[in-house]
Amino acid sequence: MVTAQTSIGQKIYFKAFLIRNVEEKFLTLFGKGLLRGTVHTCVGEEVGQVAIIDALNTETDILFSNHRGHGHFLAYGGPVKGLMAEVMGRSSGVCGGIGGTQHLHFRNFYSNGIQGGIGPNAVGAALAEKIKGSDAVTTVFLGDGTMGQGATYEALNTAGLWNLRLLFVLEDNGISQTTPKSLAHAGDLGTRARSFGIRSESMEAGRVLELHALAKQLVADIRTQSRPAFLHVTTYRLRAHSKGDDTRSETDLEDLRRKDPLPILRASVVSEIGEESCTKQEAGILKRIEDTTDTCLKDPQTSYDDFISSWTRC
């Protein structure tokens, strides 16, 4: 519950806590054989995502997300039940269980599982808004792995060329599936967009309040100036690429866990509202996730007849 007394830090913390625990629940369900397919979690990256997406007007702004999109979805305001049911393949999912984890849609939120392809799609969405005369900002989330795709640079070029209201967010977690950045990229990812005449900023996700303020400033400037911007966020992926084992050493992972912004943010929240109030709110979120899981497990899949009836048989 966000009240007048709720600080930005609290708002970000409890949303990030929700995302963290929804995804931990997914991994648990996967382990029990109650989920299938793949689950790319953003564990460790939530705080940065919430800080950035809070800068958007989720009524009118547009968001394109990727294969690791649960956090973006919930931060945008997507329904917990709709997400969990979707990942679990139920008819009550936001896409009827047809899309699953990587293919989510809710209002102005769109995700797809192909690396790089959403860049030009986001350019098209931003161009549509420009032609319509709206001042909506489109945001597209990319990972450092996606910086290997040529499509990303086409999107930077056209967004800069056409003066679009488009925010590129590069969540740089330093690893693309199992390949470290050092084996994938030459030069500096954070400054590449500058050669397209696009304002670029870099920030570490752990500096939550500064990141939030920076995102707000960028979004405001994009809106008033009708120019794109590029936000390079250093962030940490604490879990494996997908379900399954991590290829990184335990020492490296330990090091990353120490940088996890969530417990650091929690400490500051506790200093504001006290341990008891924080734990109580957390317990409420955890109960909501448990209850939602139970409901989803009972929900049916979309009927085959409903599914197939919308397709032209070749």
Binding site: Y110, G117, G119, P120, V123, L127, A128, T158, W311
Partner: protein, 337 residues
């Protein structure tokens, strides 16, 4: 005097943009300052609708990808890909984006996108600017592949494509651009019908009403250019040919051709793309399933040789289907009892 093929497309683009503010045209070199497109289909548009005609960098992946984003946000983009050969670069956007969003979001969005592109050889452009690669786009769920011949009301087919809520690949033909639209001659009758999914279907007949055809030729797009002289010549030899030119290639337009096949009982399928695993193979397999007992001869097919398309003129002529090759196939079909 009827419009030429390209003028019909151009006039229709003007009319569609006039009528519907959601229509946006994008592609390479399409501004009037750049000549109005490599094949002049967009002449005049950028002057008349400056904000909605967008010249792009050389980035076919993005031309399609940006169009997908426009369509998702309820615009009606018409993208031009300068040469059909370059559709390979946009293929991922077609199959994994344009044709996925609606289905995977459980039909909560639509992607009303038209991609216009010219295929076809015969102009000496050589291996990478002469192909007919539409077969790689056939059978993709949610994608309509449409190919106007010069006997179609080309503009009407384009209008139908823009009306559709799903993505459409609109395959034009380079050699047809300057050709006058064909509406019959002393020898050849033209019959038009609404066709599968509302895409106009055309039949050419070189015999009198009430007569029965000896052969049915199924083909599409630029091959229509060869069909006129073939039908004229065979008429002189009293060989009655019913040529079906469906406007829609995929999903398979069986309703447009089934009765013609059953009436003629001898069938030749012609396509300009390379042989093997193409439109003709799919149509033939369906006809064997639905009409095998009615066929008087095995279905014949004719397509390009499975080679690169040579730049040298004599070689190019030999690789691609020609009027002589079509006549030869017809004669072989007639030799079956």
């Amino acid at each position: 005097m009827l419009n030429s093929y390209v003028v019909d497309i151009r006039k229709t683009l003007h009319a569609i943009m006039e009528e519907d503010e959601r229509v946006v045209v994008l592609g390479e070199d399409i501004l009037d300052a750049g000549g109005g497109g490599a094949f002049k289909a967009t002449v005049g548009l950028s002057t008349k609708f400056p904000g909605r005609v967008i010249t792009t960098p050389v980035c076919e992946y993005s031309i399609v990808g940006v169009s997908v984003g426009l369509a998702l946000r309820r615009m009606r983009p018409i993208a031009e890909i300068m040469f059909g050969d370059f559709m390979s670069i946009g293929f991922d956007q077609v199959i994994n984006h344009a044709c996925k969003y609606s289905g995977m979001y459980n039909r909560q969005v639509t992607v009303p996108l038209v991609i216009r592109t010219p295929m076809g050889g015969g102009r000496g452009y050589g291996p990478t600017h002469s192909q007919s690669i539409e077969k790689h786009f056939l059978g993709i769920p949610d994608l309509d592949v449409v190919a106007p011949s010069h006997a179609h009301s080309v503009g009407k087919l384009l209008r139908r494509s823009v009306e559709r809520e799903n993505p459409v690949l609109f395959v034009e033909n380079k050699l047809l651009y300057p050709a006058a639209l064909f509406d019959g001659s002393e020898t050849i009758r033209v019959a038009r019908s609404a066709g599968t999914l509302g895409y106009e279907s055309v039949r050419l007949m070189n015999y009198r009403p009430g007569e029965r055809p000896d052969v049915c030729i199924l083909t599409y797009g630029g091959v229509s250019r060869l069909m006129i002289p073939v039908l004229e010549k065979l008429a002189a030899e009293e060989i009655r040919v019913l040529c079906c030119l469906p406007g829609l290639l995929s999903p398979a337009p069986m309703a447009d051709i089934q009765d013609a096949v059953e009436e003629a009982r001898r069938v030749l399928i012609v396509e300009e793309g390379t042989s093997c695993f193409g439109w003709s193979a799919e149509i033939a397999s369906r006809l064997y399933a639905s009409a095998a007992a009615r066929l008087a001869a095995p279905i014949a097919t004719l397509s390009a040789e499975p080679t690169v398309i040579p730049a040298a003129s004599e070689l190019e002529d030999k690789v691609l289907p020609s009027a002589a090759k079509i006549e030869n196939e017809v004669m072989k079909l007639l030799s079956h009892d």
